[in-house]
Amino acid sequence: MIELVDVTKVYPNDVVALKNVNLKIDRGEFVFVVGPSGAGKSTLVRLLYREEVATRGQVIVHGKNVARLRRSSIPLLRRTIGVIFQDFKLLPDRNALDNVAFALEVTEASRREIRRRVPAVLDLVGLKDRARAFPHELSGGEQQRLAIARAIINGPSILVADEPTGNLDPDTSWGIMNLLQTLNRNGATVIMATHAKAIVNAMKKRVVAMDHGRIIRDQVQGVYAHEVN
């Protein structure tokens, strides 16, 4: 489903974010990418939906090298990948309903489809009663749920989360993790870059640990760091 082959990423300011990274993720997996700040976690997930392009090596998603995609095919790739951010990236001048509908409008879905699917997804993330609320009227956890609703509205097979609990308190974070786990059980491949030691250790999922742009550990049912064991 996802494969990185000998990927190196050098930013224009000569910062080497990834060095010869090899990684394979199968359909339906739940993978944590952990490591200190600057280890290359965010760069790794950004390569998947082609916000960044690898300097060397191949990033293969759905069997295609994303660097080779035609410009017109990039939107189609992104519709199959739901992305969730630490800062939610919601539109402040639209209410919850419109924030989610937005991601459907972009795909030129019909208005009937939008009216049908948006409330269903809001229900799924537990925001049924907050549909008319604007982002600033929502709590952090609710905002992240809304962002997840937007990420899954197009029915993506891959969910990419970059520090999704970074701005949330522990209780709220668990709510988000339960939601991600539910989506994973329903078939979505989840790749989550995170600092949240407690969550990683408790969930016993595959852990890819990074440092200085290299993968230093790849462990099934892993933990955040060896010392914890």
């Binding site: 410009r71 519709r79 539109l91 879905a109």
Partner: protein, 295 residues
């Protein structure tokens, strides 16, 4: 284009025009004024060209023949003239007829008329017309070489001067129009850039959730085209009323100046100006978006 994106685009356009009212008004006025200058140049060159062409069509070569030339030889000259390439009409003017024309022009000058009536000094002549204006000169040159021809007259120089002036105005007008078009594109692009900048977050998110460039570009292009067309609308109104006013003024005061009739000139010009406004608006907004679409 599906109806969702159409509705989406129109909503976005209305929203940003409202939020950006002052800048939008400024660009509409700039576009209107620039197009007005362009339109006035267009009207002036169209009319000068028209006048020059009319004058040119009236140009003919007058070929005078010797008084001593026998009638048969005059006939030969006539048939030779008719045989020249491009010649459409050859009219013989006798000495009497030439005199009659002179009398008509100088009806008040009794002394002169009395003198010429005693002994008609006027030559017999042929008035030669050609199919195309540029055939005048070779026709005149050929006629000059024929036996029995005294003199050949044609007023090509005046016409050529008129054409040169028209051409100069057209060229300088075109240069000014190109400069103005660039200015208009920049102004509109700048106005749209403000909108784009205010919504760069939204654009980045749209790209992340899989919007195509076309889908993102479309509302902004709408906005640019709207600004351009509204400006062009004002210009058309101004040109329409000012040309009508000038036209009736000339008709009343200087009816001998053959101005182009109002229609279809104004209608054509309006279509052209509205099209230019739309095009300039579209180019301006597309330019301002290019940088922001690279996500």
């Amino acid at each position: 284009m599906k109806s969702t994106s159409l509705v989406f685009g129109v909503k976005q356009t209305a929203r940003s025009l409202r939020q950006n009212a002052l800048m939008s008004l400024a660009s509409v006025l700039t576009v209107a004024l620039s197009l007005l200058v362009a339109g006035l140049f267009g009207l002036i060159t169209a009319n000068l060209g028209h006048i020059a062409r009319l004058a040119e069509q009236q140009v003919e070569v007058t070929v005078f023949v010797h008084d001593t030339l026998p009638v048969e030889a005059v006939r030969t000259v006539e048939s030779q003239l008719k045989a020249l390439p491009g010649v459409t009409q050859v009219t013989f003017v006798s000495k009497d007829e030439a005199l009659a024309r002179l009398k008509a022009v100088f009806a008040n000058d009794k002394d002169l008329l009395a003198e010429v009536e005693q002994q008609n000094p006027l030559y017999r002549s042929f008035e030669v017309r050609t199919a195309r204006p540029e055939q005048i000169k070779p026709t005149a040159e050929a006629a000059g070489k024929m036996t029995g021809v005294v003199k050949v007259n044609y007023k090509q120089e005046v016409i050529e001067k008129l054409f040169r002036v028209t051409r100069a105005i057209r060229v300088s007008g075109l240069a000014i129009m190109v400069a103005l078009a660039l200015a208009m594109v920049m102004i509109i692009s700048n106005t749209i850039r403000i909108t784009v900048f205010a919504r760069r977050r939204e654009i980045a998110i749209m790209k992340l959730v899989g919007a195509t460039d076309g889908f993102i570009r479309w509302p902004f292009v709408c906005e640019g085209v709207f600004l351009g067309v509204v400006g062009a609308g004002f210009t058309s109104l101004a040109l329409w009323s000012s040309y009508s006013w000038a036209w009736s003024g000339v008709q009343r005061g200087m009816p001998f100046i053959p101005l182009l009739p109002k229609q279809p000139l104004l209608l054509d010009l309006t279509v052209l100006i509205l099209g230019a406004g739309a095009l300039i608006g579209a180019i301006g907004s597309a330019l301002s978006l290019r940088r922001f679409l690279r996500v």
